[in-house]
Symmetry: C2
Subunit: 245 residues, 2 copies
C-alpha cells in the first residue's frame, strides 16, 4: 500500500493510496485506533468522490475510519471488453423497454464480483496493518452482490449495510442464504431503475438472524439524511458494542 496524497479535510484525514494497480482512499478520524467501515460504491471514484467524502465525514464524526477502492474496469482502471459488452447489452435491452435477462445480469455482475472481492480482501489486509485502524470491520454500500459475497467469504467483516439498488445474479441468492452477520438493507421504494420485488426477495433470502430492511421514498440517490444516522447507530451496535442504554 502506497500513499499518494495526504490532506486534512474538516474533521477527517483523507489519504489516496494504490495497492498494486488498484487506487483507493482512506479516511481516518482524529481518534485512533478506529474501527473500519469499507465503503462500497457503483464505480468511478472521481465521480462518486463528493458522496463518498460526505459518508466518510459522517463515519468519522462517530469515530469510524472508512476506506474504498476503485471497482475493476471503472474510473482510471483498464477497461474490460466483456464488461463493456455486458453494459451495452443491458443498456440496449432497457432502452427497448425489455427486462434485464438473468443471462446479461450474470455477465455484468459475476465477473465484477469475482475480480473485486480479492482486491477488497487485499485492501483489508493492508489497512488492518496500519496502527490507526483497529477493531471490527463493517461494509457499507452497493454493489449489493459484492457486499453479499464479502459477507460470506470474509470473516473479518462483522456487519454490513447494503444498498439494494443494482441487479443481482441468480447465484447470489444462494450465497445470500449463507450470510450470518447482522445486516441493515436500504431500499429506495420508488427507484425506477431498481427491481423492487428482486430486492425484497434478496432481503428474504439473506440468512442472518438479525436483518433489518429500511425502505424510503425518493428515487435512487434520494436516501434520506436520517438513514446516515441510522447506519452509524447500526455500526455502533455491531462494531463498537454500543448496547441499549
Amino acid at each position: 500500500m502506497r500513499f499518494t496524497s495526504d490532506q486534512h479535510l474538516d474533521g477527517v484525514r483523507e489519504r489516496a493510496f494504490t495497492l498494486g494497480e488498484v487506487p483507493g482512499i482512506l479516511w481516518t478520524p482524529e481518534t485512533a485506533p478506529a474501527p473500519l467501515i469499507l465503503l462500497g460504491h457503483p464505480g468511478d471514484l472521481h465521480k462518486t468522490h463528493p458522496r463518498l467524502v460526505a459518508r466518510a465525514r459522517h463515519c468519522a464524526a462517530e469515530g469510524f475510519a472508512s476506506a474504498t477502492i476503485e471497482l475493476p474496469w471503472s474510473g482510471d482502471r483498464p477497461r474490460s471488453a466483456a464488461a463493456e459488452q455486458a453494459r451495452a447489452d443491458l443498456r440496449q435491452a432497457l432502452a427497448a423497454g425489455e427486462p434485464a435477462t438473468p443471462e446479461v445480469i450474470d455477465r455484468l455482475v459475476l465477473p465484477l464480483v469475482d475480480q473485486a472481492v480479492p482486491e477488497w480482501q487485499a485492501t483489508l489486509d493492508a489497512l488492518l496493518a496500519l496502527p490507526e485502524i483497529g477493531g471490527p470491520v463493517g461494509y457499507a454500500g452497493g454493489i449489493i452482490s459484492l457486499g453479499v459475497r464479502l459477507a460470506v467469504v470474509e470473516p473479518r467483516i462483522s456487519a454490513a449495510l447494503l444498498f439494494a439498488g443494482s441487479f443481482v445474479p441468480r447465484a447470489l441468492f444462494e450465497e445470500a442464504r449463507q450470510v450470518t452477520i447482522p445486516l441493515l438493507v436500504l431500499l429506495q421504494w420508488d427507484d425506477e431503475g431498481n427491481d423492487r420485488q428482486m430486492a425484497l426477495d434478496l432481503f428474504d433470502a439473506l440468512g442472518s438472524a438479525e436483518k433489518t430492511l429500511h425502505a424510503n421514498m425518493g428515487g435512487h440517490t434520494g436516501v434520506p439524511w436520517f438513514e446516515g444516522d441510522d447506519g452509524n447507530r447500526f455500526f455502533a451496535r455491531h462494531l463498537k458494542g454500543v448496547v441499549r442504554p
Copy 2:
C-alpha cells in the same frame, strides 16, 4: 375526562381516566407542556398494560406524553355480538387452514374503526385541554387500520408510527392513498400471523411523500429494542422539529 387514579412510576406519572364510558391511561413526563403520542394497541388494557408502560416510559424519557384508551368491545367494555361472531368466524377459518376472506376482515375491522375513531378524537379534545399537554400529536401502534383512518380524518395528528400486523379491509387501501403525514411503518418480516404481502401493498398505497418501512425478524412481538429508539427519533423530527445536526 375524570381521573380515577394517579401514581408516579419511575420517571413517569400514570393516571387512569374515563371519558364517558371509555377507560384510558395518560402518562406524562416531568417536563410540561409535552407533545403527545397516542398509543395504539390490540385491545384489552389490562393485558397490554406492561408493554404500554414500557412504551410510555420510553416516550417520557424523550419528553413525550403518551395516552391510550380501551378499544370498543375489549377489556372491561361491553361486548358486541357482531364483533364476537366476526372473531369466531376468523378463528374458525384460520384453524381450518383457510385464508381470512375480505368479507370477514371487513366485518372484524370496519365497525371497530368506525366506533374507535370518534372515541380517540374525543380523547384528544380532552387531553389537549390539559395544561401538561402541548404541541403536536403523533399516533403510534396498531391497529394499523385505525391509525390510517385517524391519519386521514384527524388534522391534529402530525406523524404516525404504524405497526403492520393485523388484517386490513379493502376500503382502507383507498383511505391509505389520502394519508399525507410522515409515516414510519414497522413490519415483522417472519410474523406467521401476518400477511406480509398485504403489509407491503398497504405501505405502497400510503400517500405520504415521507414514508419509511422498517422490517425486522423475530415474530409478532419480537420488535427489536432499537426500533423504540428509532421511533423516538422519528417523532423528535416531526413533533419537536429536531433536524439534522
